[in-house]
């Protein structure tokens, strides 16, 4: 029996458990339902949980470990000559066996030993499948019986059920923590392996980035230099261009919408600008690569400038367009949060609207605006698709926006797509870059959230 059918079978069993539990509770109340501590449906749920929860738990653990245990058992049965091979050769053999089992084409002539191992594997898989089917169904039936027997009018079924629901709510809410831990651990472990091969100082301060490492020892032209400064510089250049576009436009449109615009314009322009935030980034990337970059190149050539076809300017410009709504909606919120009394005070002193805005509202809203801009910067740094499609791959260390630069995210994507060995410094470098990216954006977010929260408290 395979996994999905087993789950369905367990669910059917627990539905039966619900039904039996309700019947049993009515039976033990001897027709007088008020004798029961809880409503009958809670007795049903209680039985159903007894039936399903332990069995599903066992099933989950089993599925998680089955593969590795079966592989270990098969390996232990392999002939001596194959068992004592080095780690990577042995993994190849395991792969071959697995391919053989699933009926795929196997590389090379199938070894009789491998064929035997595959048969063994198949047999073990069958045994494991049968065992878990019997075990989990048995556990479910057993749980059902326990639940069913324990039903009596004094059983506090509602409290028990609610307790379990509450525990599952708590478990769900910890997923956010586990996600963060998962991110940190996954990038950290691979980064540590990377820094064992490449010193951290070279990574952080080296000026040369060419991650092509030699696959064979005698290969030419693949030095493998991992100095990430050009990537950081490129990321900052593109983010700077993006912010130069997004901050003035976003801030000014937020000010206009909050302070000048009438209701109709506001109710039209605000959602329209927010559409920009909903457009997928891959669309922006396409737009940057096929519309904006040739346009900039054309303009540059008409005034005699040499513009790269993957210029930083094009990517930055389009990224700026993408970020406009972030800046404008965050600024809009903080501008609206400035108390009306401050505006009224300024008007009463005879200030014009723009003077009020520039000298009263903006200073009062500044922390919030800065927080919003920091969030926008972190988004610009982490943005991937626009730069993958519109920025270059070559790591130039330049401040000229008309040249091609590459960014941290572009390199992560290029290093990790396609087939590679997973333990070469080349792929591990992607995780080190990911670690830097995560830390920088985390820092920016923490500062931004802190600033915004601090500011909100001021006027509440």
């Amino acid at each position: 029996m395979n996994f999905p059918t087993l789950v369905v079978a367990l669910l059917v069993l627990s539905a039966a458990g619900y039904h039996l539990g309700v019947r049993r509770s009515l039976a033990v109340s001897r027709g007088n339902i008020r004798q029961l501590h809880s409503l009958p449906s809670y007795y049903g749920l209680y039985t159903a949980i007894w039936c399903a929860l332990p069995a599903l738990f066992l099933l989950g653990i089993w599925v998680f470990f089955q593969d590795s245990v079966v592989t270990q058992l098969v390996l232990a049965e392999l002939p001596e000559s194959l068992r004592n091979l080095p780690e990577n050769r042995r993994n190849l053999i395991v792969n071959d066996i697995r391919n053989f089992v699933s009926g795929n084409i196997v590389s090379g002539e199938p070894d009789p030993a491998i064929r035997a191992a595959a048969d063994h594997y198949r047999y073990l898989q069958f045994v494991a499948g049968a065992a878990i089917a019997v075990l989990s169904v048995g556990l479910a039936v057993g749980g059902l019986a326990v639940g069913w027997r324990s039903i009596n009018p004094l059983l506090r079924a509602r409290n028990r059920v609610e307790q379990i629901v509450k525990v599952s709510l708590i478990v769900c809410s910890t997923i956010a923590i586990f996600t963060t831990i998962g991110i940190v651990l996954s990038v950290l472990f691979e980064s540590i392996r990377f820094f064992a091969a490449v010193p951290a100082t070279e990574f952080l301060f080296g000026l040369d980035w060419s991650p092509q490492t030699a696959i064979r020892a005698d290969q030419v032209g693949s030095s493998g230099a991992f100095g990430a400064v050009p990537l950081f510089a490129g990321t900052m250049l593109i983010s700077l261009i993006a912010m130069l576009v997004a901050v003035p436009i976003g801030l000014m449109s937020a000010i206009y919408l909050a302070e000048y615009a009438n209701r109709r314009l506001r109710s039209f322009a605000k959602p329209m600008l927010e559409i920009l935030a909903g457009v997928p980034t891959v669309v922006y990337g396409f737009f940057a690569a096929l519309v904006v970059a040739p346009f900039i190149r054309g303009i540059g050539e008409s005034v005699g400038l040499n513009v790269a076809s993957e210029s930083a300017l094009a990517a930055g410009l389009v990224m700026g367009i993408m970020i406009i709504p972030f800046v404008s909606s965050l600024s809009d919120d903080v501008i609206n949060a400035v108390p009306q009394a401050m505006r009224d005070g300024a008007y009463a002193m005879g200030a014009t609207r723009s003077e009020t805005i520039r000298q009263v509202i903006i200073p009062a809203a500044l922390p919030g605006i800065v927080g919003g801009i920091l969030l926008a910067v972190s988004r610009a740094i982490g943005e991937t698709m626009i730069v993958v499609m519109a920025a270059g791959l070559a790591a130039n260390l330049t401040a000229n926006p008309l040249q091609a630069v590459t960014t941290v995210t572009v390199q992560i994507v290029t290093l990790l797509t396609g087939d590679q060995e997973f333990d070469s410094p080349k792929t591990l470098a992607a995780f080190a870059l990911g670690l830097v990216l995560f830390l920088v954006t985390l820092l920016l977010n923490v500062i931004a959230l802190y600033v915004v929260r601090k500011y909100r408290e001021q006027y509440e």
């Binding site: 593969d67 769900c172 919408l257 322009a269 992560i412 990216l437």
Partner: protein, 435 residues
């Protein structure tokens, strides 16, 4: 007397200075105002340019040029064994059939090179189309039929764009002789632009005229199903716990800080997590919608949690107190009264989260959903791509005809997103209650 005069003079001087400055201040006011208007106009025009350029580039992608061929289903080529059995029919030389048909239509073409150019005007998919026709109806063998077959992508671009014919031949994809043949075909009304159904029904292909988005759409569907099935219950459960149960302590603070931070972590970092944890550690299959769904679940959870918490917050305390007052337990109060009232808001947040997930590309590149996959995925374990990744792949392809396909696929994606977001807005309007 003197004193009041002096005061009067003084105030007049002040007034004069104020008046003098006033014009300047009003000018500054107008300038500021115009800057604001300019910013809005600029923002909206960016939006307009974006959509206009994509629609302009993409609408031809929904059409495809077809060429009418008079195909004689020669028994010698279609049925090599002469048995008429499906095995024999499927062995037939159908690309030879296409070649022969074209040669029969243009008998004056003799040089080898020219002949190759001639076969080049018809898509390589034509042979498969003829084979499928014969397999579906073996009686065709030996007969002559008019068949509309898709034109090659270069021909398609040429016909649609009305390419400038004065460009030197070496710079054109369509050569002079091909142009002549196409003109002949057009004169015989054998050239036609039709609605491109293959674009909506087939999977990816190296040939632009055969490539379609159906495979990617199905992949997106499976990915979103996984995402929805996981993120909605988990998100709502988290929101209920944090909003209704959680005591104010360090733990709760930690969870909240984590959720807020995850909402701002770059999406590509989630891709790294998916690669390291789901694929390398748990050994889940690469390129599978299951893994894509898991990664996108982690990504959309913060959105759903934040929206659900807002929805729960908006349910007034009187409802809770009334429920508790008639003797329900806290869990009953939440599940029977608060949750149903907050559900529309939660659904709105979930739809918006799903729309984000549908448009997301970067993390899926990390978990190998960029492979070139022709087959339509049959379930969440099959390798597949999703719509945005398909757009990315096509945008990278060198063939010119892929530009319009890419834009057309973007239009389809945007249409989905617009539908989802309108649904969210509709839901909010319909069920929003002010207490």
């Amino acid at each position: 007397m003197n004193n009041t005069m002096a005061k009067h003079d003084q105030s007049r001087a002040v007034l004069a200075r104020v008046q003098a400055g006033l014009a300047k201040r009003y000018a500054a006011e107008r300038r500021f105002r115009r800057m604001g208007q300019g910013a809005i106009i600029l923002g909206l025009s960016f939006l307009l340019i974006l959509f206009a350029s994509i629609i302009y580039k993409g609408y031809p992608g929904f059409q495809q040029t077809f060429i009418k061929l008079d195909v004689y289903f020669d028994p010698a080529t279609t049925d090599p064994d002469g048995t008429g059995a499906p095995e024999s029919l499927s062995k037939g030389n159908y690309s030879g059939l296409v070649k022969n048909t074209l040669r029969a239509m243009f008998p004056d073409v003799e040089k080898r090179r020219e002949r190759r150019a001639l076969t080049g005007i018809v898509s390589s998919g034509a042979a498969f189309q003829l084979r499928d026709m014969v397999l579906a109806d073996p009686a065709l063998v030996g007969s002559t039929r008019e068949v509309w077959v898709p034109a090659d992508d270069d021909v398609d671009v040429f016909v649609k764009a009305q390419v400038d014919r004065t460009v030197p031949e070496a710079d054109r994809r369509i050569k002079d002789n091909q142009m002549r043949w196409l003109d002949q075909l057009a004169a015989q009304e054998r050239l036609e632009k039709r609605f491109n159904t293959a674009f909506f029904t087939s999977g990816d292909s190296r040939e632009p005229e055969l490539a379609g988005i159906w495979g990617a759409a199905v992949g997106s569907f499976f990915t979103l199903i996984v995402t929805l099935a996981l993120s909605f219950p988990i998100g709502v459960a988290t929101a209920i716990y944090l909003e209704e149960y959680a005591p104010r302590n360090k733990w709760t603070d930690l969870i909240e800080v984590n959720i807020n931070n995850l909402a701002a972590v770059p999406s590509i970092v989630f891709g790294l997590l998916g690669l390291a944890v789901f694929i390398n550690f748990f050994g889940l299959p690469r390129s599978a919608p299951l893994v894509g769904g898991l990664v996108l679940t982690l990504m959309t959870l913060p959105t759903i949690i934040i929206a659900s918490r807002a929805a729960l917050k908006s349910v007034p305390p009187s409802i809770r107190e009334a429920a508790l007052g008639v003797g329900s337990s806290k869990m009953q109060m939440i599940l029977h009264h608060v949750l149903p009232l907050g559900l529309p808001g939660m659904l709105t947040g979930t739809i918006i989260g799903m729309a984000q997930a549908l448009g997301e590309t970067a993390p899926l590149l990390m978990i190998g959903m960029v492979a070139f996959i022709v087959d339509i995925p049959g379930g969440p374990f099959d390798p597949s791509t999703v719509l945005p990744v398909q757009i990315f792949l096509w945008a990278d392809s060198p063939e010119r005809a892929f530009v319009e396909k890419t834009s057309a696929a973007i239009m389809v994606l945007l249409a989905f997103l617009i539908v989802m977001n309108s649904l969210a807005i509709l839901l909010r309007r319909r069920f929003e209650r002010r207490w």
